[in-house]
């Protein structure tokens, strides 16, 4: 029953949408009915799935890269107050810049291909990962830190046997925020300049007034986001069984 509820919610919204398009007689050009969207998808299933995989790949590789860069960055920030004071404000400033504003420059620098999209994804993903990792490591309970000190533990031990582990539940919070941003970052990159991907499909179909194709692409984006989010939630359950996070969510 619990598993059926989200499906029920989705069906209810789709039903309302369909009803609205019929009752108010909305032009398919403005808001296509669910059936129009499905038809659009069925006309080009191979092409659309290919574009989905491209966007998915951009999002996932940018997300992975953000972890590979973000976690060590957080380690450095926690490990050295000098580095923290030098670079933390810069990181905040970087995050404050609207990513949409950077996107055109990124495309100029890295071209229309996949690398500019991956960089966009890294730019949106890295901040939540660094923040959650750093604050998770810093919030290690004093009694555990004292235990390690009483064992004359090295800093390496303290970081890799204690602080990083303690941060894991919070890191997952950051990862879950990041993964949804990752898809958005990829699409922003594709909007600004691309020749493939779901964002590109949306731009092109918008230009040719093919609204139902744009809707189909958006639905696919939503599917990717939701799938990635729940994949992470599942991984969290497996990897962080001691966390209280998933007892709440």
């Amino acid at each position: 029953m619990r598993a059926a509820l989200p499906v029920l919610g989705l069906l209810a919204i789709i039903g309302l949408w369909w009803l609205a398009t019929i009752v108010f007689g909305i032009e398919p050009l403005l808001v296509p009915s669910p059936a129009d969207v499905v038809v659009s998808f069925l006309e080009l299933p191979g092409y659309l799935l290919e574009q989905t995989l491209i966007t998915l790949w951009e999002a996932v590789s940018g997300f992975a890269l953000s972890i590979v860069i973000g976690v060590p960055l957080a380690l450095l920030i926690v490990g050295s107050s000098v580095l923290e004071r030098m670079f933390y404000p810069l990181l905040v400033a970087l995050n404050a810049v609207p990513k949409v504003a950077i996107a055109p420059i990124v495309v100029v620098w890295f071209g229309f291909g996949i690398s500019s999209k991956v960089l966009m994804v890294v730019l949106v993903c890295i901040f939540p990962i660094v923040i959650s990792t750093a604050s998770g490591m810093k919030s290690t309970p004093g009694e555990l830190v004292e235990l390690f000190r009483s064992l004359d533990a090295t800093r390496t031990h303290e970081f890799f046997k204690l602080r990083l582990w303690h941060a894991l539940p919070q890191i997952f919070v950051g990862l879950k925020v990041s993964i949804t941003l990752a898809v958005i970052g990829a699409v922003i990159g594709e909007f600004v300049g691309a020749d493939a991907g779901l964002g590109y499909v949306i731009t092109v179909s918008g230009g040719s007034a093919d609204t139902s194709l744009a809707f189909a692409a958006m639905a696919l984006l939503a599917v990717i986001s939701v799938a990635l989010f729940y994949l992470l939630t599942w991984a969290e359950r497996k990897l962080v069984p001691w966390s209280e996070e998933h007892r709440v969510l």
Partner: protein
């Protein structure tokens, strides 16, 4: 085993300890009692090398304490278990950090003796508070310490569990005597376990009196002879 001579400690303008002199023998169990804020936990942290004294000197096994060391183990007020590690992995932590090699057999043995056989693979949050503190006790024994420092380890537990764990600690000490400094504010626990009881007076912490407990072991809570000592201590604490 432990020699504390002329130790004073102050931090942030607070004079926590003043002129402490104390010897603890190789197999001696010394309890330190006093009101809260009398500096008894500070004394323990000084012996552990977690703090440095403002004046005076502390020797363990003949060498001055400058930092925490492997032959001294500390058991804290709360179990301080790592929630992501199984019971067994928690017990093995000191062996890993101190580089003592594979101590798995010993860990199993300790857990078995503490009545935790069969719980090796559990995570701490699946255990009761008393069981967690038993795991903590096993962990502080894994490194075969020469000195055990124990900081009000049962204060967060209910009365029945406290009694059980006090008796557990007595069993451990009888099986293999060590130098133990046991900080507590429970007079009954101190009398049950200690060879000598140091009564601290507060602000600044000074040694008010040292009471010898010359009673045969094993002792049991509620024994008439223990009550006499308890009464004496209660009187001492009132004047401390």
């Amino acid at each position: 085993m432990i020699t504390i001579s002329g130790v004073s400690h102050s931090f942030g303008g607070v004079h926590a300890l003043d002129g402490i002199d104390l010897e603890v023998g190789e197999h001696e169990f010394v309890a330190v009692i006093g009101r809260s804020g009398c500096g008894k936990s500070t004394l323990l942290r000084l012996v552990a090398g977690l703090l440095s004294p403002s004046a005076g000197e502390i020797l363990v096994a003949g060498s001055p304490v400058t930092r925490p060391r492997g032959d001294v183990s500390v058991m804290f007020q709360r179990p301080a278990l790592l929630p992501w590690r199984t019971v067994l992995a928690n017990v093995l932590l000191p062996a890993e950090v101190l580089g003592l090699g594979d101590q798995r057999d010993r860990a199993h043995e300790l857990l078995e003796l503490a009545g935790l056989g069969g719980f090796e693979k559990r995570l701490p949050h699946e255990l009761s508070g008393g069981m967690q503190q038993r795991v903590s006790l096993c962990r502080s024994l894994i490194q075969s310490p020469r000195v055990m420092l124990v900081d009000e380890p049962f204060s967060a537990l209910d009365a029945i569990t406290r009694t059980e764990l006090s008796e557990e600690l007595q069993r451990v000490q009888l099986a293999r005597p060590r130098a133990v400094v046991f900080v507590t504010h429970s007079i009954d626990e101190a009398v049950l376990l200690a060879d000598r009881i140091v009564v601290l007076s507060p602000r600044p912490g000074r040694i008010h009196r040292v009471v010898e407990v010359d009673l045969p072991r094993p002792r049991a809570l509620g024994q008439v002879e223990l009550d006499e000592v308890s009464r004496e201590l209660r009187g001492l604490l009132a004047t401390a």
